[in-house]
């Protein structure tokens, strides 16, 4: 079994009388790891504890097997790259100057720094804007320079906090592609977001869902799917008899123009009902398929279950 790259042990963070993170246990072993949660769930607080800027009220966080607030903090920080949600780097600097500064923080030799800057600016497609001050960058450009600065030290772990939330779809896709490529190069990517389709697009290996500071679920999308035992069933045509018969089994049925979409774990029972009605009334079934579950549904279901006091890790 792989050694965890990030592991949190019952981490709790309390701000005055607000519990921002509550006994959180996470384990990241590599690949792309998505931390999901609605706004205010405690994602940013968790990340800031991981990078060492916030101190946990209780518990401990280990990166590469060492406590982030321990004596090896500097060694850990040499191995990570962090991109905040709101890029607030030194706005009066140009991209080149910022990266040179970061290079000097890492004590990189000047020639190596120059080479790295050139390479990274090309990677994030900012070569033409390298002499422009960051304050004049668009939101997408700021996020890309954010990624570039995080990659200056060639980190093994990238921690990204909602980096696509302020971007347009084009910018978002660019970033996603970039991250997928970085992951292919072997970097572990820990990304927090509340935009769920992105995690799917990134093909995250694992996700964790947190709400009000508590971990609700953790695992791969497939594992979570199994755990929730939910799937999406599409039935066509959208027939009145199907609807009436299924309403007693599945409470929420979404009606499309010529189909019904069901969110249920009762696949066999649904099939039985549909097959019987079809035979008795000679209704031709155009389509009956189970699509599995998408991440958004997992997320919503997990949150709903949590609110109902159901599934709990």
């Amino acid at each position: 079994m792989k050694n965890p790259i990030i592991q949190t042990f019952g981490v709790t963070k309390v701000f005055k009388d607000v519990i921002a993170v509550n006994k959180l246990d996470l384990k990241v072993t590599g690949g792309i790891y998505g931390l999901l949660g609605p706004n205010g769930a405690g994602k940013t607080t968790t990340i800031k504890m991981m990078i060492g800027s916030l101190f946990p009220t209780e518990g401990r966080i280990e990166l590469f097997g060492h406590d982030i607030h321990g004596k090896d903090k500097m060694d850990i920080q040499k191995r990570i790259g962090y991109v905040p949600e709101h890029p607030t780097y030194f706005q009066s600097m140009t991209a080149e100057k910022l990266l040179t500064y970061i290079g000097s923080v890492f004590h990189m030799p000047i020639q190596e720094t120059k080479k790295k800057i050139k390479e990274l600016l090309r990677l994030v497609d900012l070569s033409d804007a390298r002499t422009r001050i960051i304050a004049k960058y668009s939101a997408g450009m700021k996020q890309r320079i954010g990624i570039a600065q995080a990659l200056m030290n060639d980190p093994e772990l990238l921690i990204l906090d909602e980096i696509t939330s302020n971007l347009d779809p084009v910018g978002r896709n660019q970033i996603i592609e970039l991250l997928k490529n970085l992951n292919k190069e072997g970097k572990t990517i820990f990304i927090s977001t509340h935009i769920l389709p992105e995690i799917q697009k990134m093909k995250a290996d694992s996700i964790a869902i947190i709400d009000r500071g508590r971990l609700i679920m953790e695992g791969s999308i497939d594992e979570l799917n199994d755990e929730l035992k939910t799937q999406v069933i599409v039935i066509s045509p959208n027939h009145k008899l199907f609807r009436e018969a299924l309403s007693s089994v599945v409470p929420n049925i979404t009606e499309e123009v010529d189909s019904l979409i069901l969110n249920t774990d009762k696949l066999d029972e649904v099939w039985q009902i549909i097959a019987n009605i079809s035979l008795q009334n000679k209704i031709v079934i155009k389509e009956f398929r189970s699509t599995g579950i998408d991440i958004e549904q997992i997320f919503m279901k997990a949150l709903n279950s949590e609110q109902l006091g159901g599934i709990e890790k």
């Binding site: 800031k48 990078i51 060492g52 800027s53 916030l54 101190f55 903090k73 500097m74 060694d75 920080q77 040499k78 990570i80 790259g81 962090y82 905040p84 709101h86 607030t88 780097y89 030194f90 009066s92 500064y101 970061i102 000097s104 923080v105 890492f106 004590h107 921690i159």
Partner: protein, 628 residues
């Protein structure tokens, strides 16, 4: 052009606020202040007073009459009042002349202005006499023991063989000669360009508030007095000037001898003769030994009558700036920093990771524009100082070294009070707090940067900025004054320059430490700005009042301004503190307040301790603080 317009648009709120302030200033200036002024000092003569007689031209004789109305004398009218009683007030302006002669009696006030002339001989005045701008008045053999005379700008007054209750002097220029007279209180409040000569007179109380006190090079103090005075000065060249009268001869040939004794030893003899009714003379004595000295001037007239007056001068010495130890100290500090850099580099070669140098360099580069502005603005006090000296020199003809010291200290106190706060807040208040607020600090601390290194990288950069700025300030003050002093004082000016640097450093270091502490500890940016303002500006005023309650100056220990003012008093001039103790006014309130006098070493130790405490606390708290 568009850029400029855009920037101006962005500035519209500050411009609006600034405009409102300026407008408010003008309103206050032209309504409240002028209103008060007019209530106190002037009256509108454009409409005639009720029950008044106006004389506008010609020669008018009022003899053996009693006039009940007010009298207005305008333009070139020349009015002679002989053996008469005027029961109303008298107003004169526009070059009027008034002669009040032969046992006349004026029961009300006399106000003269605008080139008017007043001569009163052997008469009495019941009210006060107000000599406004550019007037002249002479009182001869007048017994007016309840009268107060007011003198304003450019008014000349002669009191000869007369009696007054009070003589109040204000404004710039104009002379007062008091001869053979008796006055209960002489209060000198104007500028030093206004001279007062007191000769052979009896003054019960002399209240000399002229500042700088010795700008006039020893005028009235050295007349042929009936009283002796003493004062302290750092002047090593004492200019004595005086007036002597040869009493037997009026408007005739004068023959008078003056003998000068220095420390009871005969020093010089001066003979004066000629067709004068008075003889003024001057002499220069150079004193080199610190301590108390006496100078006696003996006047011997043609009948052999002797009049003498002695002045006791305490020659103050301010400690010369110790350049050699200072440079050794600077070299030691530079060596220490260089040693630290070498030590860190060596450690780095063995794998130690430190970013203090990077942060220091970046902060210095980022602050270079501010530093440039501070360096340029530091020329301002020097220019203002130079301008002030030029104006005083122009008006008086010379400027004494005491005055130069006093003015330098006063300017420096004002400058360091306002500039110190602006400087430390502008470099330090936002340095950590802003980064914390906008989130860039939490990002930056994801890099391998120790928090104390981050803080101290900045602090070291601030120290360098303080040193560079204070060098500029010191040069500015030195150049602003060095061209106005006698060559024998040049070393003193250079010494003052050294002390300005040192005091500035001593004042700014703890202040910046407090600002850095606030910036790194407080979570709200506003507090990082507000608390230093409170500590530096509001607290000294509040604490000044506490000295009254305490009956002692010890609360000043908590007043930041006290320390650099005290150093200024010891090293630059004992005059010129701005804030200090309100206890110095305790006498007016009938309160005795025990003064607090700390020696410079104690002050330096306190300031250094404060700096270390605040920076250590900032470092310790910042180390363990959540960075949002």
């Amino acid at each position: 052009m568009n850029n400029i317009i855009q920037k101006l648009k962005k500035l519209k709120l500050p411009i609006l606020i600034l405009s409102l302030f300026i407008a408010a200033g003008f309103i206050i200036q032209y309504t409240i202040i002028n209103e008060n002024k007019s209530e106190t000092f002037s009256q509108d003569f454009s409409t005639p007073l009720q029950n008044s007689i106006t004389y506008e031209s010609g020669n008018i004789l009022i003899e053996n009459q009693t006039i009940l109305e007010d009298i207005i004398i305008k333009f070139t009218a020349s009015v002679s009042v002989v053996n008469s009683t005027l029961q109303g007030s008298i107003y004169m302006f526009n070059m009027g002349n008034l002669f009040i002669l032969q046992k006349s009696n004026i029961t009300q006030n006399l106000i003269i202005s605008d080139f008017s002339t007043l001569f009163i001989d052997n008469s009495t005045i019941g009210g006060s006499i107000e000599c406004r701008d550019t007037t002249s008045m002479e009182l001869f053999e007048c017994y007016t023991p309840t009268t107060t005379v007011w003198k304003f700008d450019y008014a000349n007054i002669i009191l000869n063989s007369s009696n007054l209750d009070t003589l109040n002097e204000f404004g710039i220029a104009g002379n007062i000669h008091v001869v053979n007279s008796k006055i209960n209180l002489v209060s000198l409040n104007g500028l030093s360009s206004s001279r007062t000569y007191i000769t052979n007179s009896n003054i019960l109380l002399l209240n000399d508030l002229v500042f700088p006190s010795n700008v006039i090079t020893g005028p009235f103090r050295f007349g042929i007095f009936t009283f002796n005075i003493s004062y302290s000065t750092s002047e090593r060249i004492i200019n004595l000037t005086w007036i002597g009268w040869d009493s037997p001869i009026i408007d005739g040939y004068l023959n008078i001898t003056f003998q000068i004794y220095f420390d009871n030893q005969f020093y010089a003899k001066i003979n004066g003769s000629g067709f004068h009714d008075q003889y003024s003379s001057s002499y220069q004595i150079e004193i080199s030994d610190p301590g108390e000295h006496n100078i006696t001037i003996v006047s011997i007239d043609s009948m052999g009558n002797k009049y003498s007056s002695t002045i006791i001068i305490e020659l103050l010495t301010y400690p010369p700036f110790q350049w050699i130890p200072f440079f050794i100290l600077i070299a030691a500090i530079t060596g220490l920093i260089a040693g630290m850099i070498i030590w860190i580099k060596r450690k780095q070669n063995r794998g130690y990771f430190s970013s203090i140098g990077t942060i220091f360099k970046t902060e210095l580069v980022a602050g270079k524009n501010k530093l440039l502005i501070f360096a340029i603005t530091s020329a301002a006090p020097g220019i203002l100082l130079s301008l002030s000296f030029w104006v005083i020199n122009h008006l008086v003809g010379s400027i004494a070294f005491d005055g130069i010291r006093d003015l330098i200290n006063m300017f420096f106190n004002i400058y360091i009070y306002y500039f110190g706060l602006i400087f430390s807040i502008s470099i330090g208040a936002g340095s950590v707090a802003n980064d914390k607020k906008n989130g860039s600090l939490s990002w930056f601390f994801s890099k391998p940067v120790r928090r104390w290194e981050f803080l101290w990288g900045k602090i070291l950069a601030f120290i360098v900025m303080i040193v560079i700025t204070m060098i500029c300030v010191s040069i500015s003050f030195t150049l602003g004054s060095i061209f106005y002093v006698d060559p024998i004082y040049i070393t003193d000016i250079l010494s003052i320059g050294g002390y300005i640097f040192l005091i500035g450093l001593i004042a700014l270091l703890p202040l910046t430490a407090i600002v850095v502490f606030c910036s790194s500890v407080f979570k709200k940016v506003g507090l990082a700005y507000f608390v230093p303002i409170l500590v530096f500006m509001a607290m000294p005023s509040l604490i000044s009042f506490l000295t009254i309650l305490a009956g002692s100056d010890w609360p000043l220990l908590f007043s930041f301004t006290y320390y650099f003012e005290q150093l200024g008093k010891v090293w630059i001039s004992n005059v010129g503190g701005l804030f200090g103790s309100i206890g110095s006014y305790g006498g007016l309130l009938g309160i005795t307040i025990t003064p607090l006098t700390l020696d410079p070493i104690t002050i330096i130790l306190i300031m250094v301790a404060l700096t270390i405490i605040f920076l250590s606390l900032a470092t310790l708290i910042f180390q363990k603080q959540d960075i949002p």
